[in-house]
Every structure is written in C-alpha cells, then in structure tokens.
Assembly symmetry: C2
Homo-oligomer: 121 residues x 2
Amino acid sequence: MSTTLELTPVTTAPSGACCAPLVREAADAETARELAHLFKALADPARVQLVSIIAAHDGGEACVCDLTAPIGLSQPTVSHHLKILVEAGILTRTQRGKWAYYALMPGALTRLATSLTDAAA
Amino acid sequence: MSTTLELTPVTTAPSGACCAPLVREAADAETARELAHLFKALADPARVQLVSIIAAHDGGEACVCDLTAPIGLSQPTVSHHLKILVEAGILTRTQRGKWAYYALMPGALTRLATSLTDAAA
C-alpha cells in the first residue's frame, strides 16, 4: 500500500505584509562604514557646535582663537575636537602664521545630508 | 591744567584675518546636544544599514524579519540596534500580529540633513 505525500508550497513570506520588496538599493557595508565614521565624528555636542560656529563665520572659516570662548572649553579640548573633525574629513585645517584656520571640507556635509535625504525620500 | 585723554577704538580682532564676524546664528548648546544625540544613533555601520534598508523597502517600512538576513547579524543584535534608533526618534515601531514593523520617523532625517546643509551652505 502506498500513500501520497501532500507537499504544501513553502513561501518565504507567509504573512502578506511581511517581506515587502526592496524598491531601491540599500547602502552596502562599505558605504555604511564610511557614513557611520562621519556620524561618529559629529556625535558630540562640542563638535556639532564647532562645525556650526565655523559655518556661521564670514567666509566659512574660523581661527582656533575664535572657537574657544563660544563653547566655553579650553584650547587643548577644542583642538582635540577639531583634530577629530579634520581626521574624519569634515573640516580642513590651514596654518597661517601663528594661528590654525578651520573651514568646512567642501562636499563632506552635503554628502552626509544626501545620504539622509535619500533615505528619507 | 587738563589733558585730553585720547581714546583709541578697541577692536576685538587685532589681526585682520582672526576673529571673522559671525554672519549667522550658530547652533546653541541645547540644539547641539539634540543633534549630537541623533548623530550618535547613526554612528554605527549596522544602524546606517538598517535605516537604509528600511528606507529602500516598498512603503518605507520593513518587518524585523526582513532585516536580519541582509546585514548578517542575529535577531537579538538587530533588535538592539533598532531599539536605539527608535529611542533616538529616527524610526517608529509598530507591532502587528507576531511581527514588529519599522519605518522612518517622518521629519527626523530631514531635520538632520537640514542642519548639515545649513552648515554647509
């Protein structure tokens, strides 16, 4: 005597709502790592303020001597935060005479903003 | 006998290049703290990928069951990252039946992007 084994079709999405299709490309692992590195550089209130103060200055550039008083931190602490922002590629640093001048790296913040608005669109 | 005291105008910027004037308002301490908190939530490659994958899904919403395989992490780890994104106000979480669904919080990423492009403008 033989029996027939009923095979039920297996779907990967048993619930209709689950597993909606991707409608566009998500960030790959390498891009995600780069973006996360930029976000980390901005993940500190003092660094957000520094970027904001530099951007608010005439010409988009500020001397380190402009930056200590507004955020109420010592010059070594401010220099430490500025170094992180320069290393992340968010700021540029130019030495002129005795002072270092900091400016926004062209394109860096726009790239981050685009990555966010693409995600939000 | 009286002398006339010559008053020399005092400038706060003795060097021409130093201490450029502010041309617009910089972020205040409270705003900087809020923005830094959002940046911190995105300062991890897995969380950047999660936001990106959710945004790339049809309807801008994804089930937690859609999110584990693409980034190659366990469900508890993915849930941990999702919790951080929900607590930061970047994602919303809706329970429907046995699954939790995640979507972008309207306006959260646009606000961050605006803060960046304002700075870059």
